[in-house]
């Protein structure tokens, strides 16, 4: 039998989660704002950086709950089952998991951590590619100048 108290714990976590996100924006958290400038020419990387923030935000619900649950020691199992279903539904919105069965909470948490790692790898790939492109850009300019220098030198020698 679910009581109001157990449901309240989950609602409280969701409320704190929303409040944290608003606060992150109000505080101009670098995780949100820095990529907007760093990746202004790269929509794909900007999307990945945004998604990375949301993954961190999603996993924070679990941390918030772990703290909240300590107040419900008598019915911890029931409280966790309610939270797990809601949390998995939340993860479902990000296509991380396709089920809200409470028994799969651990899998949901593991998957979200793996997703964070994968997003980091994707961002590294983009940064690698940008670094390579910048080197190439400098090389093109260097080649242009060297060619002009060479053609000028040879033309003067001909004269």
């Amino acid at each position: 039998m679910q009581t109001k108290k157990e449901i309240f714990a989950t609602l409280q976590v969701l409320k704190q989660g929303r409040a944290e996100m608003v606060q992150d924006f109000l505080d101009h958290k670098p995780d949100i704002y820095a990529p907007s400038f760093k990746y202004e020419d790269s929509p794909a990387l900007l999307n990945l950086a945004r998604e990375k923030y949301f993954m961190t935000w999603l996993i924070s619900h679990w941390q918030l709950f772990s703290h909240e649950a300590t107040f419900f020691t008598d019915k911890q199992k029931e409280t966790e089952a309610i939270f797990a279903t809601v949390f998995l539904q939340l993860l479902g919105k990000w296509a991380i998991i396709k089920t809200d069965h409470a028994g799969q909470l651990n899998l949901g948490i593991q998957l979200i951590q793996d997703m964070q790692n994968t997003l980091n790898e994707f961002i590294k790939v983009g940064d690698n590619s940008d670094a390579m492109r910048k080197k190439f850009e400098v090389e093109i300019e260097k080649n242009r100048v060297l060619f002009e220098r060479e053609i000028k030198k040879l033309s003067e020698m001909e004269l």
Binding site: D114, E137, N143
Partner: protein, 268 residues
């Protein structure tokens, strides 16, 4: 019931893992290079070369796009035929690129460009090596992650391609300036030609490095995706052990093991 739930959840992540991403065909990225040929007198061989350099980049992009299309078509009976057609198309494309490079090497104009010729050989080698590897790496990704990878790799490829076009255009203009300069002696022209040849060879080396890096990065991502699939498998394994401990009936355990095997099959 809950185990089928897990299977479904993890299945979503491992979806299409067995489908090796195959794809070929000439994309649109290299189209701009050919148009220079009509205005500049640097020779047909160079333009052909430009086109050949772009094609592997297009192919890499197609590796990423094809699995997404395959997912769309996965419920169709025809998808196996299409898979085969894509495989044939890809193989044909590789053979065509190599044949065209061989033809190019016979060209007299091309003969003069020693450095470019060497770089092309390296490029060709890497292309052959990477073809299978990249396809496999992308094939292991989930649909959602493939889409992200596609957006990223596509964006970076287009940005790189713009730069490669710029370098190519610059080389062609420089060859043209050398050829059309009547005040310059043949000796000086040869020196300059040699310099541009080396520079062009550097551009091809860059293209090789770019392709290699893309491939290496894909392998890295793929390794990561495997860990996601494995975390699903570990989870099921743990549950199986728990059920065996509490003495589940043989039939039910066999059913669950089947479900786990199926999942493992996705990752192969």
């Amino acid at each position: 019931m809950s185990f089928f739930g897990i299977g479904e959840a993890v299945g979503g992540i491992a979806q299409a893992a067995g489908n090796v991403a195959l794809g070929a065909g000439i994309g649109t990225l290299g189209a701009g290079v050919g148009t220079l040929g009509t205005t500049l007198a640097a020779g047909a061989a160079l333009f052909k070369l430009g086109d050949l350099l772009h094609r592997p980049v297009d192919m890499l992009c197609n590796y990423l796009e094809q699995p997404l299309e395959m997912v769309k078509n996965s419920r169709e009976e025809k998808s196996k035929d299409k898979d085969l057609q894509r495989h044939i198309a890809r193989e044909t494309e590789i053979v065509r690129i190599i044949t065209e490079i061989e033809q190019l090497k016979k060209d007299k104009e091309f003969e003069r460009m020693k450095a470019v010729s060497d770089s092309i050989m390296k490029y060709q080698k890497e292309l052959l090596r990477i073809n299978g590897e990249a396809a496999q790496a992308i094939g292991l990704m989930s649909v959602e992650l493939r889409r992200k990878a596609l957006d990223l790799i596509h964006e970076k490829t287009v940005q790189y391609d713009e730069l490669q076009n710029k370098a190519w255009e610059q080389s062609i203009t420089q060859f043209s300036r050398i050829d059309n300069d009547s005040s310059m002696s043949e000796g000086s022209k040869a020196v300059l030609r040699n310099a541009v040849d080396k520079k062009l060879s550097g551009t091809i080396d860059n293209a090789t490095r770019f392709i290699v890096q893309l491939n290496d990065d894909m392998q890295l991502i793929s390794k990561n995706i495997n860990s996601i699939t494995e975390s699903g498998q570990d989870f099921i394994q743990k549950h199986l052990e728990q059920f065996q401990l509490i003495g589940m009936s043989g039939n039910a355990t066999a059913l669950l093991e089947n479900s786990s095997d199926k999942l493992a099959g996705f990752a192969k």
